[in-house]
């Protein structure tokens, strides 16, 4: 850290996001604009000089990519996270690392790997591992008129309500990932916490018809727990929060086929009840 400390830092900021204090120091003031965009919506500048994680960003020119061939270097505490000429690459690595850190360390929030949309003021939570088809389902819900909450994490508070974590959707193709904003899909990001109305324990399988069965709160909690980042670190708190989440929600379990048909079915059957 001492070597890093000796570099010529010209500016720094501390942000508080989901109760986690994160510091940023840069060698060029224009990098602070990039830093502001990396933090999740709702992050606040803090006066604190003590941080839990410090990002150090060196060099580069955020204008024009590789003009001048100056590399960006990004450090998370003392570990070098990337060395790149491309500011977009820097942004993606930085955001990914920060989201992962916040998701594990947020003191009063529980982060579950899940897609979340809101329908008539109630959250539809779709927990699942990568490649289970969450993003496709979230995208289809947004196209059907749902409000966007998250494509990556369901952020629960102690009362079991879901808070927005509206990063752009990461839509995967064979070899690339494309970022899509909810606005591009005719939707808007959610603004406040809402109760969970529906938990969908599902994954995609080509050609399958969506014939879900209702399942118990206990099974829903297991499904959420299997995708909770801090579950091993704080199992008791995680179970208590997830119990609140599942207590007022309907739980549907089953393999799904095409996203549009599944969404139409949900909107028709469940959407009428809320």
């Amino acid at each position: 850290m001492e070597k890093l400390d000796r570099l010529g830092w010209v500016a720094g900021l501390t942000f508080t996001t989901f109760g986690v204090r994160i510091g940023v120091r840069v060698t060029s003031t224009e990098l602070l604009d990039l830093a502001s965009s990396v933090f999740p919506a709702g992050s606040k500048v803090s006066a604190s000089r003590t941080v839990e994680r410090l990002y150090s960003v060196v060099g580069g020119s955020t204008r024009g990519g590789d003009s001048g061939r100056r590399f960006f270097l990004l450090y998370g505490n003392v570990a070098r996270l990337t060395r790149t000429l491309n500011s977009q690459e820097l942004y993606e690595i930085w955001q990914s690392d920060m989201d992962f850190y916040i998701a594990q360390r947020a003191p009063r929030k529980l982060f579950v790997h899940a897609g979340v949309v809101a329908w008539k003021g109630h959250a539809i939570v779709i927990p699942g591992r990568s490649h289970s088809g969450k993003t496709t389902l979230v995208k289809a819900f947004l196209q059907a008129g749902a409000t966007y909450y998250s494509d990556e994490f369901a952020v629960f508070d102690e009362r079991g309500r879901v808070h927005p974590f509206p990063r752009p959707l990461s839509v995967r193709t064979l070899n690339t990932t494309r970022k899509i904003t909810p606005e591009e899909l005719g939707s808007l990001p959610g603004t406040g916490p809402i109760p969970t109305g529906l938990i969908m324990l599902t994954h995609y399988d080509a050609g399958v018809r969506w014939r879900p069965r209702q399942t118990s709160s206990g099974r829903a909690i297991l499904g959420l727990l299997a995708n909770t980042l801090a579950a091993r670190r704080q199992p008791e708190g995680a179970l208590a929060t997830l119990e609140q989440v599942a207590s007022g929600a309907q739980v549907l379990q089953g393999t799904r086929g095409e996203a549009r048909e599944t969404v139409e079915s949900i909107v028709y059957h469940w959407g009428k009840k809320v």
Binding site: L81, T82, T84, E89, E92, I93, S96, D97, F100, A103, Q104, V112, H113, R129, S130, H131, E152, S170, R172, L174, N175, T176, T177, S216, S217, G218, R219, I221, L222, G223, L225, A226, N227, T228, L229, A230, A231, R232, R233, P235, E236, L239, A240, E243
Partner: protein, 149 residues
């Protein structure tokens, strides 16, 4: 072991193995009665009283076998055999279809590490560690680290 009781289920979290278990009502009642003081006959009677219906002893053995398999007992139970080791289908045949609802069920999951629970990058995406890649292989190609097959 962390215990959370829901209205008609019970959740157990084993901090040594990081497995979480969901016990349905019957399994939860049996598990609570397996406190080292009750024998199988006493558990059968107590469960019957609780559920307000006749309960077969084999049902308790079925639950016990399941608990042992899931590591929910401190001690190992001697090997189960004969009538005690009836399968669910055999037991259903023996006690009749009406008893199906009273089977002890235990669902278990392995709680993931943070990296396993988080999302992952596709092939050729830039990365910093193996755990970020769906392929679990973050390797050097040219000057960049990217997810490789």
């Amino acid at each position: 072991m962390i215990l959370r009781e829901l209205s008609d289920e019970c959740l157990l979290y084993d901090e040594t193995t990081n497995h979480a278990h969901c016990l349905n009502q019957v399994a939860a009642e049996v598990w609570k009665l397996c406190d080292g003081r009750n024998n199988i006959a006493e558990i059968t009677l107590a469960l019957g009283r609780h559920l307000n219906r006749r309960v077969e002893e084999e049902l308790i053995w079925m639950a016990v076998r399941r608990f042992q398999k899931c590591g929910l007992f401190l001690n190992t139970i001697p090997e189960l055999s004969g009538t005690n080791a009836l399968s669910r289908r055999e037991l259903a045949r023996k006690v009749g279809r009406g008893a199906v609802v009273a089977f002890p069920l235990v669902t278990s999951v392995l709680v993931p590490t943070p990296a396993t629970a988080a999302s992952c990058f596709p092939l050729l995406h830039i990365c910093t560690s193996n755990s970020q890649c769906c392929s679990n292989h973050c390797g050097l190609q040219g000057a960049s680290l990217i997810c490789l097959p």
